[in-house]
């Protein structure tokens, strides 16, 4: 029931004094219903320049072939697969927030799930472009599909992780899209009912005729719950299968059974970092500090700390197993990460992912917005290097020393990567302009129970323990959107 009041010792999920249902709609729709500000235009210009670079670099690759990349006989997979795994990993946080946190009834997901899911979809689009462009002959991209053909009816090999990957990524993308769009329907209807003219027509088509009747909501909630239930194993399966692209080979450094859980933890780790990078800026620029509060920021930092530590344990396990296996090629691969020519990449990987995230143990750092933002970028740099180390550094020196080689990226490699970041931000910036970046209906759901004003009313009601009130006030001191003088 909406009237149930939540314990005072839980931090508020919506701050601000006079937040009403109408206020939530107005605040969330401000960027959608008004012309964008200067910050948006600057961001959009830079991002779309990046997207243009991406179009150019990918077209160049298609025209001249994969030879325009820095690959060689030894290193046949490099920045393309690094970028692919990096983007797919980033996508994982959105599904974690929208599905797993829904199953765990974590109400704080309500204000960040929409943009995190959008981020998932854009990240998977970026990842998918790598898959197509690394094929060399993208017009044959339908070959991994099990279609009847004229090659003597030669079917795709369902024993191959690469074919599993085609199924996993395409399922993941389309299911995420369905989940996201279904969740958008009520909010699109809100825009529709406030708009006039051509905007009303567009949002009318997009909102599928949503009315918000009792039965619609009841079915909507059933659908969301079941989608969350099936997306949870789905998201775990996706990065598991991505890791099997490597783990089922015989390459030292790839051929390890720890890869599936290790990749999944790393994926969630980098995904949350990207959510943090985006939301810390978004909340400021769009003025959503009352909905994405310090509690959300700290909670995400805690997840980054947890998953970062899981990744750290996985690293240690890898080293131990390399030593314990007594396989000299395996041992060399791991030693080579520190003493080989790519020692700096190894240092970036271990330093950014394990050492830097340990700073999150301190509450002062977890609740400091500029530091959190910098750390979130550090994590994503570290995770990019993790994939680079696993892929290029393992490949460049394996069994036969006469084939040892180095990898030097060309400008095309770099442009495709930088361009994909531009593409990602272009899509994200367009998203916050035309769609509500916070799930309004879901935030309205927790207004009466978990907002600051509801808790203030509880305190004023006087039926709460003084100790608890004191604890609550102390927890509010770190909130940048709360005026602590109101509680004196």
């Amino acid at each position: 029931m909406a009237s149930h009041s939540e314990s005072i010792i839980r931090e508020p999920l919506i701050t601000g004094k006079d937040i009403t249902y109408a206020q939530i709609t107005n605040d969330v729709l401000r960027p959608v219903e008004n012309m964008p500000g200067k910050a948006w235009w600057i961001g959009f210009s830079v991002a779309s320049l990046g997207a243009c670079l991406w179009v150019f670099a990918v077209s160049y690759t298609f025209w001249y072939g994969i030879g325009s990349w820095g690959l060689n006989k030894t290193i046949g997979w490099a920045w393309d697969i690094t970028g692919f795994v990096w983007w797919v990993g980033i996508g994982h946080a959105g599904t974690l927030i929208s599905a797993i946190l829904l199953l765990f009834r974590q109400n704080w997901r309500n204000s960040i799930n929409r943009s995190a899911e959008a981020m998932t979809i854009f990240a998977v689009i970026c990842a998918a472009t790598y898959v197509v462009s690394h094929m060399g002959r993208p017009w044959l991209a339908y070959w991994p599909l099990p279609l009847p053909n004229q090659f003597g009816s030669l079917w795709v090999n369902f024993n191959s992780p690469l074919v599993w990957d085609v199924f996993a990524i395409s399922t993941y993308f389309s299911v995420s899209l369905v989940f996201w769009y279904t969740g958008l329907l009520p909010d699109l209807a809100t825009i529709r009912d406030r708009a006039t003219g051509i905007r009303r027509k567009i949002y009318s088509v997009a909102s599928f005729g949503w009315t918000g009747s009792v039965k619609t909501w009841q079915r909507f909630e059933t659908v969301c719950l079941i989608l969350a239930g099936i997306s949870t194993p789905l998201v775990l399966s996706v990065h598991t299968i991505v890791s099997m692209d490597f783990a089922t080979s015989l390459e030292p450094g790839w051929h390890t059974t720890i890869f599936p859980p290790y990749f999944v933890a790393g994926a969630i780790f980098s995904g949350f970092a990207m959510v943090q990078t985006l939301l810390l800026v978004t909340r400021k620029v769009l003025g959503l500090e009352n909905y994405i509060t310090m509690f959300h920021i700290e909670a995400m930092n805690k997840i980054i700390l947890l998953t970062g530590s899981i990744v750290g344990v996985a690293y240690l396990t890898e080293f131990f197993i390399a030593y314990y296996s007594a396989g000299e090629y395996e041992q060399y691969t791991f030693l080579n990460r520190f003493i080989g020519p790519y020692w700096w990449a190894g240092c970036m990987m271990y330093g950014c992912n394990v050492l830097m995230t340990q700073l999150m143990w301190f509450k002062k750092i977890r609740t400091n917005i500029p530091i959190s933002w910098v750390l979130s970028i550090v994590v994503n740099i570290g995770m990019w290097f993790e994939r680079f180390v696993i892929i290029v550094v393992s490949l460049h020196r394996d069994f036969v020393p006469s084939s040892w080689a180095m990898f030097y990226p060309t400008w095309v490699d770099m442009s495709v990567f930088v361009g994909s970041i531009g593409l990602f931000f272009t899509m994200f910036l367009l998203f916050i302009r035309v769609l509500p970046s916070i799930a309004m209906a879901e935030v309205k759901l927790i207004l009466k129970s978990s907002s600051e004003q509801a808790k203030l009313k509880l305190i004023k009601g006087g039926h709460v323990e003084q100790e608890e009130v004191q604890f609550y006030k102390e927890s509010l001191t770190s909130f940048d959107s709360v005026d602590i003088n109101d509680y004196k």
Binding site: F158, P186, G209
Partner: protein
């Protein structure tokens, strides 16, 4: 004869809305439907709406998806073109697990969501049948069919007493129609 087709009680708060439903039901006024900007938990029981059966649909679609891809893999790799890969059996069931899982999820998601859209009459471009434009924003609306429910003033008073911030007597069913 009044021209009123629907009487709408607009509430500003979900708890008052629930109170409004109780009041109407106590006075035997049938409720046509309730429109809210967010899901209200417990309202479906109050209005006697049965549990959604979408879960069954989801399960059946999942079974269909898993069976489809497993049969496809069997036909392609075992029946139609078995390959000798190091003498290993062609019918490698563990290798079929990932794709079977993926299509189970895929069919469940699409099948269930499309069933939801079909059953609820949601599709792109459908003319929205909105009784009050603020029902998707900040008003919790109880709609009562005016036909047969007279006198209308009594219903108005009941709604007002229950805490409705506004009561509307609409001549048209849907305000969203041009």
């Amino acid at each position: 004869m009044s021209k009123t087709k629907y009487i709408l009680g607009l509430f500003a708060d979900p708890d008052e809305l629930m109170h409004g439903i109780d009041t109407l039901q106590k006075n035997s006024v049938p409720i046509y439907d309730v429109y809210t900007p967010m899901p209200i938990h417990g309202i479906e029981r109050k209005l006697g709406i049965k549990d959604s059966r979408l879960g069954y649909a989801a399960f059946l679609f999942g079974c269909l998806g898993g069976t489809t891809i497993f049969s496809m893999a069997y036909y392609m790799l075992v029946h139609d073109w078995p390959m000798d890969i190091g003498g290993k059996p062609a019918f490698a069931i563990p290798d079929f697990v990932p794709i079977t899982f993926e299509w189970t999820v895929l069919f469940t998601a699409f099948g269930m969501t499309l069933t939801f859209f079909f059953a609820t009459h949601l599709f792109p471009g459908r003319t929205p049948r909105v009784m009050d434009l603020r029902a998707t924003d900040d008003r919790f609306v109880i709609a009562i069919d005016a036909k047969g429910n007279i006198p209308h003033e009594d219903i108005t008073n009941l709604l007002k007493e229950a805490g409705a911030v506004e009561v509307k007597h609409n001549d048209r069913k849907y305000v969203s129609y041009e």
